[in-house]
Every structure is written in C-alpha cells, then in structure tokens.
Symmetry: C2
Subunit: 142 residues, 2 copies
DNA sequence: AATCTACATTATAATAATTCTAAACTATTG
DNA sequence: CAATAGTTTAGAATTATTATAATGTAGATT
C-alpha cells in the first residue's frame, strides 16, 4: 500500500483536485493492508476518530461519490437501507452475513466464472455479480 | 392466475387476516398473466389507479412486508435508494438495465447453476443471486 | 347476534439516509 | 498574484421508510 503523499499524484491523475479532505480520506481508506467494506456512516466515524480537524458530512458524501465515479471505490447493493462501499474495485463476488450484516469478499477460486447465455439487444454487460446470503446454521431457528 | 376470492383462502393459509386492503393488494399484484417487479411507489400508484377507495401509505408498507415475510413477495436489492419487490418468489437471477432502471428476470436456462466452493463455518447459504448490470452498447459513449 | 380481543389500518409525526443550496474557500491557470 | 473553476461547508430540503397512538375490524367466545 502506498505512502501518504502518493495520493496527491493519484488524485490528480484521475482529474480530482487533491484537497486536504480528499487526501485525508485516501489515507483512511487506502493506507492499510487489506481492502474493506464500509457504509458512509462507518466512514464518518473512522474519519472523526483519526482526525483532529473535522470534515463535513456533505464532503464525505461528495468525496465518496467522486471516488466511486473515478474507480477508487465500488458500491455494493445488498440492502435497500444502506449503501455499502468497497475499496476493492476489482470484479468480485460477496457473501453477506444476514446475522451480523457483515460483507465478505469471495476469492476468484470460490465461484466459477459465470456464463450468461441471454443477450439483451443493444445492451452490453457492465458487470456480473453474485451475492451469497448466509445466516447462522442453527437447527432450532424459526 | 387465480380468481379474486381465492386470495381470502390464501391469506388465511399463511396466517394473514384477509382484510379488504390485503385482498385489494393481492388483486393488483397477482391477478395477472406474468409476475413483475415494482417499488413501493409504483405499487401505490397502481393501487390508487385501480381503486376508488384509498389506502394508506403505511398500510402499503405493512402489507408488502407482511407478504414478503410470508413468501408472497421477494425483495431484490439493486439500488441503495429504492426497494424493488418481485411477485416471482422462486429463486432466479436478474438483469438490471442501468439506462431505464428496468429489472428483467433470467430464465433458469440463462445462467448455469452456481457452485460455491467457500464455506463459512456455522453459516448456511440462504440464497445465491446473480445480478447482471447492462447498459446501452453505444461505441461513442463516455 | 352481541361482545371481546387481538390484529390491522390510518393519519400523522418521527427518523434516517441522502441531496441540495448558496456562501465561503482554495487549487490551479495565466 | 488575480481570475476562475472546482470544492467545502452548515444547514435546509427531500425522500424513503418506520413509529405512534387512536380508531376500526376479523374471528373467536359467549
């Protein structure tokens, strides 16, 4: 994972001005070992914990959407009430734990390549995503 | 597709009281050739068009959720902003047209059965769903 | 058939997530 | 270093959904 100041370059490359807020958000999102999933709410908490200066909620929304548009983040649709985002922007599938509301990445080896036989005229396939919903395996659940 | 009065029976079978509102909603949802997809908003419009009496928004929400819980409806997650529901409650996959926001069912023959190799300890798989996002195939789009 | 009770419906208020607004600010260009 | 175009901000507005509490109704009990 890259060092802080590289983010300035990266932002510029995709045409986003490297503002103080965007750089801070990059640090929070990308200065880590592994990719991860978050909601806007999670992210706001993470930022306010890591920072002394505060950042406006509107900016978090703006920036997340700017990052998404530029391919820095991917939105995952699971739940109609919340937006989940993923710092892993490569094509991959997910498990969703319905007990904990935790989102887990699938490795490529977990699911075979999916072959779509249907064709919709004039339309091209943008993405193929599998969502595997799991829940606790108690026999005695209703 | 069944005639109106059967809905009273059906509702009773799953333990839902056959109220005037629920029967009306059954008619709107299930008295038709094909299954279909809708948002709560769509449904409210459809009901108000087909009825002379009005129905409360809260009742539409309550009833849709009651139907979902009893397996009369299935929720489809595509978009974080809206809840889509499907009167086709069997396990099946979807295409989502990102231009029109239209949801299209996949037939069983469109996608092979998906084999999940990963196992999450103590968890069972509740569902495996594929979402294929499509959009218009213009070369000259940005 | 009158009464009871638990469940349903309703209008409205409340909440939550997100977007809008318009003024102040700042990175970049010339 | 001034101009300008993009950015941030607080707060208001919007949208989707859920909660509330009073009223209504289905089905059971008498």
């Amino acid at each position: 994972m890259p060092k802080n100041c590289n983010f300035i370059e990266k932002l510029r490359e995709v045409g986003l001005r490297p503002t103080k807020q965007r750089i801070k958000m990059c640090e929070v999102l990308y200065n880590r070992e592994k990719t991860f999933h978050f909601t806007i709410n999670d992210l706001v908490k993470m930022i306010s914990e890591k920072m002394n200066e505060k950042i406006s909620l509107a900016t978090v929304y703006n920036t997340v959407h700017a990052f998404e548009k530029k391919g820095y983040l991917k939105e995952i649709s699971i739940d109609s009430h919340k937006s989940y985002f993923d710092t892993n922007t490569s094509a991959h599938h997910h498990f969703f734990d319905e007990d904990t509301h935790e989102l887990i990445d699938c490795d490529e080896s977990d699911i075979d390549k999916i072959n779509i036989r249907k064709n919709i005229t004039g339309k091209k396939i943008n993405s193929v995503e599998v969502l595997v919903r799991v829940a606790s395996d108690n026999q005695n659940q209703k």
